[in-house]
Symmetry: C2
Subunit: 393 residues, 2 copies
Amino acid sequence: MNVPSQVLNPPCRTLLGAGPSNIHPRVQMAMAAPLVGHLDPYFQTIMDDTMALLRHLFRTENKLTFPISGTGSAGMEASFDNFLEPGDVAVIGVNGVFGERMVDNAQRTGATVVPVAAEWGDIIEPAAVEAALKAHKKVKLLALVHAETSTGILQPLGDMSKLAKEYECLLLVDTVTSLAGHEVAVDDWGIDICYAGTQKCLSCPPGLAPFTANEKALAVSQKRSHKAHSWYLDLSLLSSYWATGRVYHHTAPVTMVYALHEALALIAAEGLEARVKRHLRHGAALQSGLKAMGLVLHAREEYRASSLTSVRIPPGVDGGRVIQRLLKEFNIEISGGLGPLRGKIWRVGLMGHSSTGENVILLLNALEKLLLEEGYVVERGVGVTAAIRSLNA
Amino acid sequence: MNVPSQVLNPPCRTLLGAGPSNIHPRVQMAMAAPLVGHLDPYFQTIMDDTMALLRHLFRTENKLTFPISGTGSAGMEASFDNFLEPGDVAVIGVNGVFGERMVDNAQRTGATVVPVAAEWGDIIEPAAVEAALKAHKKVKLLALVHAETSTGILQPLGDMSKLAKEYECLLLVDTVTSLAGHEVAVDDWGIDICYAGTQKCLSCPPGLAPFTANEKALAVSQKRSHKAHSWYLDLSLLSSYWATGRVYHHTAPVTMVYALHEALALIAAEGLEARVKRHLRHGAALQSGLKAMGLVLHAREEYRASSLTSVRIPPGVDGGRVIQRLLKEFNIEISGGLGPLRGKIWRVGLMGHSSTGENVILLLNALEKLLLEEGYVVERGVGVTAAIRSLNA
């Protein structure tokens, strides 16, 4: 039987899309470390370490803090499937693809979902959430996306936290594109359930979903009238494996946990505050540069994420072609828009190891060159100059 | 904040447990290859290659053949959640932990489950399955475990395939511990849905679940009255990403796919027939050696897997202590029993890269030494001698 098969030889990309981001060589090497069994006493020390490092990153004391064995979307699914069941009501903010995905996930649990919508590029207004909480007698869960990867909006959570307390519902937050790049303080902010992905600001390959839930959330999940739909993501079983007893459930993805452990150790060494500042600095420089080039940033001004920037494709420019040319001619990956924003915006990630001043300049320079060639009128160098000024400010 | 964190430095184990198995250095290095985006044109060629190599391994023409982004258990969940819904009836063979897990998975879909039980260490009898199929009017799905990892039984599938045809139900087979170690012929054997794990005979780290389903199965899943419970494992969405259009669903675990691609290329290079023979030869040698030492093999004689051997712990010997000493003194991992077999058997895997004559001799020699020290009477060298005789036969 003839089986086509090439020799693995991936190109060296500068990953400035919506994720994955580039990974540190130490993370890369961690995956090549000797494989041990998932119940090996050595691996258990790595599990303990990883949980402690994740608690530090999530800024939580939650015992149940561990990586789910799937990508960020598996973290999302675990966060709905374990807490909602038919008869429950969930209020979900929807201002992008990931809010929509939350709705789909929540509906599959059989719960009633009340979406609170906003423009794709704007935040969810607390007043709209409160109206929804008021209108429905007993809302069990309020879910929001912290950094909406499809728009680059960073949702403020202070008022949402107060509302969740006032209306006695669980607060669930998606921090896939914010964790390790923006401030995330699970305990201080009153977040009951929180998940992320590894491939964004954590700078670890995709494949795991950091997850945390507090005692209040666990108590709610234990009061379910029947089992979660998912065996694979059943928190009571996962908790017995990760948190309380190392009881065999599934086979943990050992090498991915190695990689996450290494990525988290790098984050702890840099310091959370320094890391957030680094993301802010480079996000601001990129946004200055883009504006100086006459481009329009898509997300509402006061609420722009620094980990992900959305910028409108100027009229007359073929956005898809620019993405392809950046990849082919510069080995730089950026992303296009999703859903209603397809063909309308570009999305540039400056996440984790990819969030550097060099990458800001590299991208702005390449983009200027390509936009000029594609017929967009821009003074050569304005973007880079503005970015450098911002970096030096 | 003080964050405990050790430097990653795993010991070099000889992995002869129930999985993971040792991985080839080429697979190890593949994970350190440059990370690219999950929608990168380069990665799409690796996806295509991986699918072609998986089809070769599963011996199928099924278009929908790809790795699910989770461990083998996620493969199991996808195999039930996409095909069963409330009102459906599933007949499931249960002669070990993984049959039990199938029942749990199937029940969570809301379907009615009819378990067909057998002793843990015996096969499921076709007559018992036929009785169950007869007793229930319209059975939608018949599920069996090919190699039961908890007992070391290899289930013959010929009669089961005929029964599935006769009673017009889908045939679902778990090949987690058989694929790439035993003969698995999805199309020839009339298997409609099949999944495996990467960390057994494929010798790739845990984290992905090779999966295949034919057109008949897909048609059944498309006739569902409502969506699958799982968004993450929804075949209609996964199919759009992997098989039909590269439509973004979740972020594929890129480095794990690199590893799987490399592991599959190694399998294709060895040849399926040669690989199965290798597993048979080493499984037989191990079993000869264990018998020569006076130990009793647990699984029924004519139906023993070569990838996983279960052997009874002799009276008076502390089985757990032997496992711990093998790990501490010899860096060899073997597994204990699960469920009702806990404390009663050891399980020795000879899977993929771990299935070598050297490992057979290494283990038998270490086991003899330890058993003697633990008070079991055995003539020093009989096990190794019998194994060598078997290897040379």
